[in-house]
């Protein structure tokens, strides 16, 4: 039965394969779960230039540039990345392409690894771009290829919207060969690619015409298909929601939408005709439901299905059938939240920060895990680069407090505190730099800590401008975060090794007593990238059970029989616990 042309691919792997098969030659991205593996896979194919761009806006502009130079290009990002790239996204709809351009947005219903559950199908509607929503890896590959074709045929970038369940589920994919697409080359055309208002007006008219044509296409495309079943019971669904729906209602008629924007009005009207019961099953927002209802069609959807979290079989069954699945869970169990790894350099920093009476604005990265006990060290987490800017705003608000309330010792909320922002190296390059320049320009007083672990940690160790290596594996100029901070205008830039907790304690005291702005670069490579050193051990004779070492929050450490204990299977020998021990009980 074995067929060598079939492979088990995640949605991310399938998109990479689809881009390669479609003859794509330029690919750009900023890493972000669940989209990261697309470029990590695509770079392994021959004939595609791939890069980690510094952020999603940059990535989309790189891909658009390549498309205007006449080659097929792809740009991938997580859902919130498209917010960063929204500026070029809207303009790219006006400009269109020469070589096909596919923009992948990987949404995260269920917030497996994100700060929100936004539904990026709306971006297609808002920016006037077609949106394809595959339901498994095969479709992820096929729709990527279709995206390039549509992009060139209709002269418009195409959004491919996947979700975590598509990106990280593996399903069987039929493999094809690469087609060689002829380079179209670059031709100067300022009426197309130069959005001065006088040209943009004309481009907008053309865009509206294209959307009309694409709506006609949506009504007839094979990716929007009717599956005949019961005459009077119909289900409309897209993406992975279709899979749940099809399993729960095997006998229903289905309208499976693979292209959700432009909206296939005529097809939906035709499908709805004569259906006594009509369901729309989709994840997160009522995107399709609102559109269906706007046609005057009665449909059951979010009145029964949740607006939050991803769907699954049980949720669909329990919301829409008479036979709910019931069960009880062991709700009283200790949770197992993700934690900083053993030897994580961030832990040494949080150990010191958790004791300070300061406000700490956090950012996006592993260090956000310092929000959990035992550190409880981070006040805010908003978006990429949001640490430095939020800190600045908080500071400025404090300055506006009236002196009489500021001085009220009973009202802690009105007592100004020092504000410290924490941002990772990759995040600093992504969107931290403009915030730092802003803080210098506008006379900020904050302390910014750049936790420079020499990689993009949370997404699984991608290179960035500070690592000296590109995605293609080439050596390149290494930008040092401390040099960039100085270039942003910060005069006080301090370097520290987060493992040296004793030294850092004095340094922190000094920096907090000075006025800012100041930058601390806390430099130590991610513990997962460093060879393990000799395992540490607790001398139970010397240990007095004071638990100071446990406040590092190291997963290798626990408290057993009134003494600290180090699990030798987890310890990486970083030595932070030994540094903290006043009794020299850790050897």
């Amino acid at each position: 039965m074995e067929n060598t042309n079939r492979s088990l691919f995640s949605g991310d792997e399938a998109i990479a394969r689809g881009a390669w098969e479609a003859g794509c030659k330029v690919a750009s991205a900023y890493p972000g779960t669940p989209s990261t593996q697309i470029l990590e896979n695509l770079v392994n194919y021959e004939g595609v230039y791939c890069e980690w761009s510094t952020n999603e806006k940059v990535a989309l502009e790189v891909a658009l540039g390549a498309a205007l130079a006449g080659v097929r290009s792809i740009c991938t990002m997580k859902h919130v990345g498209l917010n960063v790239a929204a500026d070029p996204l809207f303009s790219s709809a006006y400009i269109g392409v020469r070589g096909g351009l596919v923009i992948v947005t990987a949404d995260d219903p269920g917030l497996h690894s994100s700060q929100n559950e936004q539904d990026n199908r709306y971006y297609g509607m808002a920016a006037k771009l077609p949106v394809l929503t595959p339901a498994d890896s095969q479709e992820a590959k096929d729709f990527t290829k279709l995206g390039f074709e549509l992009s060139e045929k209709y002269d418009v970038p195409v959004i491919l919207r996947i979700t975590t369940r598509i990106a990280h589920s593996k399903t069987i994919v039929e493999l094809g060969e690469r087609i060689e697409v002829e380079d179209k080359g670059y031709t100067k055309d300022i009426t197309k690619a130069n959005l001065l208002p006088q040209f943009a007006r004309g481009r907008h008219v053309l865009l509206e015409q294209r959307m009309k044509q694409l709506e006609e296409y949506a009504n007839t495309t094979p990716v929007n298909k009717i599956i005949e079943g019961k005459k009077n019971f119909g289900v409309i669904a897209d993406g992975v929601a279709y899979e749940y729906a099809r399993e729960i209602f095997p006998k229903a008629s289905f309208l499976k939408l693979g292209m959700v924007w432009p909206f296939a009005k005529d097809l939906v009207r035709k499908f709805a005709q004569g259906k006594k019961h009509l369901y729309v099953i989709e994840e997160v927002d009522p995107f399709l439901e609102t559109l269906i209802k706007s046609l005057g069609i009665k449909v059951t959807g979010k009145d029964k299905l949740p607006l939050v979290e991803e769907l699954n079989l049980r949720i669909v069954r329990n919301a829409l059938t008479e036979k709910p699945t019931t069960f009880s869970t062991a709700a009283d169990l200790p949770p197992r939240p993700p934690a900083l790894c053993p030897g994580c350099p961030h832990a040494g920093l949080f150990y010191l920060l958790q004791k300070k009476d300061v406000i700490i604005t956090g950012d996006i990265g592993c260090y956000t895990l310092g929000s959990y006990p035992p550190h409880n060290a981070i006040d805010t987490c908003v978006c990429m680069g949001g640490s430095i800017t939020l800190a600045h705003g908080i500071e400025k608000a404090f300055k506006m407090f009236k002196p009489e309330t500021a001085g009220n010792p009973d009202d802690k909320s009105k007592k100004p505190k020092r504000v410290v922002s924490i941002i990772g190296d990759s995040t600093f390059f992504h969107m931290g730099m403009p915030g730092l320049v802003n803080a210098v320009y506008n006379k900020g007083n904050q302390i910014t800590i750049i936790v420079d672990n020499r990689t993009t940690g949370m997404t699984g160790h991608q290179d960035h401008p500070g690592t000296g290596k590109t995605l293609m594996g080439e050596q390149t100029k290494m930008l040092k975060t401390e040099d960039v901070a100085k270039a942003c205008g910060v005069d006080k830039v301090y370097m520290l090794d987060p493992y040296k907790i004793k030294e850092n304690r004095a340094l922190f005291r000094q920096i907090l007593s000075e006025s800012g702005p100041a930058v601390i670069v806390s430099k130590q490579a991610c513990a997962l990238l460093v060879p393990r050193k000799a395992v540490k051990k607790v001398n139970v004779e010397k240990c007095i059970g004071c638990k100071v070492c446990l406040s590092l929050g190291c997963p290798a450490m626990s408290f057993q029989n009134e003494k600290s204990h180090i699990n030798p299977a987890f310890c990486v020998g970083c030595g932070m616990c030994a540094e903290l021990c006043a009794k020299q009980a850790i050897e």
Binding site: P34, H112, Y244, N312, R336, A339, G460
Partner: protein, 195 residues
Amino acid sequence: MKPKITNIVCCGVGGQGVLLFTDILAQVAMSAGLDVKKSEVHGMAQRGGSVISQLRFGEKIYSPLIEETTADFIVGFEKLETLRYLHFLSQKGKVLLDSLEIAPMPVLTGALTYPSDIMERIQAQTNNVYVVDAFKLALELGEARAQNVIMLGALSRFLRFPYENYEQAIKENIKPKFVDLNLKAFKLGKKLIKK
């Protein structure tokens, strides 16, 4: 009659090799000509957190996720995590578990205690429990990371795939220098189950 689908939930702690376990088994099922879907989550969820991977195979699979109360097997690499996902088990389903205990952060910090009655609670729900001390055996083999393949060997006793499929899938998913060790681990696991 409903076509037969096999549902397998594999769970444990980030870093234990849960995802590789289902990767290998998914490939075994595919090479037997079945439709396969497997699902898991990367990113934040992996940093020492609770990990679940779901595998389904049969003639035609729609949902990549398993519905609660329908898993034919729960393969638990850690005791607490096995209990956490026990509600996926079907009435006739089997539990294969490693009795290894890994304390989560709230237990390490002393805020909560590791439950002492996990085995009793699992056994209260099902008679089909197979305890496999895979982690211990893996340490004896000199490679803690072989725990997952020992578990796979144990599970293979309940599935109908030929050994060659496993051998092939192990070769394709594991670095060449660890293949022999893992084939040994697989066979070791197989011997642990007496039916």
